[in-house]
């Protein structure tokens, strides 16, 4: 008897495992298609640019013969799908082209600027999660009270106020008027040229090498932009937490738990929130992605030397290889975050086990 039951369990595990593998394969297939679409998008933009790519290389004084030679060398005489294949295979090897403005390989530039954005967006998301989830839970539990109203107002402001304006107002108040916080930038000018950041993550490197004065200076610099991004993340996460919690709290198992005499705190935090956590994974991932987007504007306000600033200044200089490389990187990070949240969702959702 025990044999047959263990056989059944093993069989069910096998089925569940197969379902998981199928799901992962499907998710990966969608990811590949999406990546292909993104590449088509950037390829078409690169082809669509009004400036002649050959003239950009040879200059407008070159003879017709030189022009024709470079035209051939660049593969522009080949059919479109061949050009696309060349483009895609170049990307696959990490060759994003060369930036006309910085004179570096775009790939190296991206490696240099990405950590600054990563640090900012990660701390912003942490703030958003740590404040947003408790606020959302409280708003759901005390529905209709001032906590609920507060979370609604925070949400509305988050959806209605442009992030770049809030950042400027923050600088105006806390830097220009009150002088509580330092101005734009990642580090004080005194440390900017003396501190070598190996990984590009200033906070991490400063703490690792024990240079605490640099660490605190970096903390003071990141406080305002990270709090700003954190606010927008919190606005979104708290609203979604609220609606997931309301959904959970109306389920029958909550009534059962109450009838069993469990304490309200245990019901809310251990039972309801635990189930609300599963859809929240997707929400946090989405919010992390949108912070990457929000960081474009935030970085312009705070002179933060990250991906957003690189993207914007490349566009302003019509440095298209650099701009499209940055766009691709944002797209790939987005895709990766979505994939990760999909996989986590499947691992943690008991129904998919």
């Amino acid at each position: 008897m025990s044999d047959s039951s263990s056989y059944t369990t093993a069989g069910m595990r096998w089925l569940a495992f197969r379902r998981l593998v199928t799901a992962i394969v499907k998710t990966a297939a969608v990811a590949v298609i999406t990546l292909f679409g993104l590449t088509v998008f950037t390829f078409s933009i690169a082809r669509y640019v009004p400036t002649d790519p050959v003239l950009a290389v040879v200059g407008d004084k070159a003879s017709q013969a030189t022009y024709d030679r470079v035209y051939k060398e660049m593969g522009l005489d080949k059919p479109m799908y061949v050009q696309f294949a060349t483009y895609a295979s170049r990307l696959a090897t990490g060759d994003f082209g060369k930036s006309r403005f910085t004179q570096n390989q775009v790939f190296d530039d991206l490696k240099r600027v990405f950590p600054a954005t990563f640090e900012l967006a990660t701390i912003g998301t942490l703030i958003g999660v740590l404040l947003g989830i408790p606020l959302g839970v409280l708003a759901a539990v005390r529905r209709g009270t001032w906590v609920d109203q507060l979370s609604r107002v925070i949400g509305l402001i988050g959806y209605s106020v442009p992030i770049f304006w809030l950042g400027l107002m923050g600088l105006l108040i806390f830097y220009a008027y009150l002088d509580w916080l330092p101005g734009p930038g990642r580090l004080d000018i005194a440390y900017q040229y003396t501190f070598e950041s190996e990984t590009g993550l200033v906070l991490f490197d400063a703490a690792r090498t024990g240079q605490w004065d640099v660490f605190f200076d970096a903390c003071r610099h990141i406080l305002l932009p990270a709090a700003l991004l954190g606010y927008f993340s919190m606005a979104y996460i708290s609203r979604m937490t609220r609606s997931f919690m309301l959904n959970e709290l109306s389920q029958e198992y909550i009534t059962t738990a109450r009838v069993k005499g469990l304490s309200e705190a245990r019901i809310i935090w251990r039972h309801a929130l635990r189930n609300a956590f599963v859809p929240l994974i997707t929400v946090v991932a989405l919010s992390y992605g949108s912070l990457l987007e929000g960081s474009v504007l935030t970085e312009m306000v705070f002179a933060w030397p990250g991906l957003g600033q690189y993207l914007t200044s490349s566009l302003m200089n019509t440095d298209m290889d650099a701009a499209l490389g940055a766009t691709l990187l944002v797209g790939i990070v987005f895709l990766f975050i979505n994939l990760l949240s999909d996989v986590l969702y499947r691992v943690y959702d008991p129904r998919t086990r």
């Binding site: 999406t34 679409g37 009004p50 442009p162 992030i163 600088l171």
Partner: protein, 312 residues
């Protein structure tokens, strides 16, 4: 004494005529439904507040030349009238070029309204058509369109719009075009989801048995039913579109100075914000108020038109 006709009620009984439980005609039933919707909507104070803001925006845009005391793009004097603080002559002061800030704000409403109007006009029909056709026909059409929307929905709208604007060059028209390209997929997804639930209903089967063509079914029976949820989504999106337009203006790749677009105004005034904060504050507040208005209006419309999704 003549008996009052059912279709021409006396003015006193408008309300009763609209709210009757036994409408005499389709028109009466439809108008009655609209009236009930309006009653529900008007009982919601924040939705009414949102509606008031949006109406104000429209009025400002239409009557801008009459409301604004000065020409928004002509200086009041480069030597005498630069960066004046707010006063009785210049309610919100002047900027670094001697432009009257209040006049620029009022005229800026035209660009904001134009941007969201054009985006809505372009994207709503495209989203509706693609969504309903995909949902109705299914199969390969559906698969191809949905993968395309996947690509657009998977990536941040601002960054895609930036890349598009980069290719076409800065300017408000290109910004509007770029936002439109990135906005339709969301509406297509909503219309498709609605179509999938409507498609297999008995009444659709009944019309089909009567010999209605697929086009007739889609245009006459499916699109009208998808419309309300798409309208709700478009209204809520307007707030986001206003912010993206302003963001592109702020980055210098949207509307170009001296166009009095609000984001461009914030960007132009940021270097003097410490000593002359009124320009940046008022332009930013204008963006906030208008986008808040669309958010509140959209929430209110959702409660009335799309009660299913409003419950959460």
């Amino acid at each position: 004494m003549s008996t009052p006709s059912a279709s021409l009620p006396s003015p006193v009984s408008w309300r009763e005529w609209l709210l009757t439980s036994e409408p005499q005609s389709r028109r009466q039933a439809r108008l009655g439904r609209y009236y009930r919707g309006w009653l529900a909507f008007s009982r919601n104070p924040s939705a009414m507040f949102g509606l008031a803001i949006v109406l104000m925006l429209v009025l400002c845009a239409v009557f801008a030349p009459w409301i604004a005391p000065y020409d928004p793009e002509r200086t009041l004097g480069l030597q005498t009238a630069r960066l004046l603080p707010p006063s009785a002559q210049n309610w919100l002061g002047t900027d670094i070029q001697g432009f009257d800030v209040f006049s620029r704000l009022i005229n800026g409403s035209r660009f904001t309204l134009m941007a969201i109007f054009i985006v809505a006009i372009i994207t709503t029909p495209i989203g509706l058509l693609i969504g309903t056709f995909s949902g109705y026909y299914g199969g390969i059409v559906d698969a191809v369109f949905m993968r395309i929307t996947d690509v657009f929905l998977a990536f941040p709208r601002l960054v895609l719009a930036m890349a598009l604007v980069g290719a076409r060059g800065p300017g408000l028209e290109n910004a509007i075009f770029a936002i439109s390209v990135t906005a339709w997929p969301a509406y297509a997804r909503i219309a498709r989801a609605e179509t999938l639930t409507i498609r297999n209903n008995d009444y659709i089967a009944a019309i089909r048995l009567q010999g209605a063509s697929s086009l007739r079914i889609i245009f006459g029976h499916i699109i009208p039913l998808c419309l309300s949820s798409v309208i709700v989504r478009v209204t809520l999106d307007m707030a986001g579109i206003i912010i993206v337009v302003a963001g592109l203006g702020f980055l210098g790749i949207g509307a170009q100075p001296p166009t009095p677009e609000w984001g461009t105004m914030v960007s132009a005034a940021k270097d003097q914000m410490r000593d002359y904060p009124w320009i940046i504050t008022s332009a930013g507040l204008a963006i906030c108020v208008v986008s808040l208005g669309f958010n509140l209006l959209g929430d209110g419309l959702r409660d009335v038109l799309d009660p299913k999704s409003a419950r959460n």
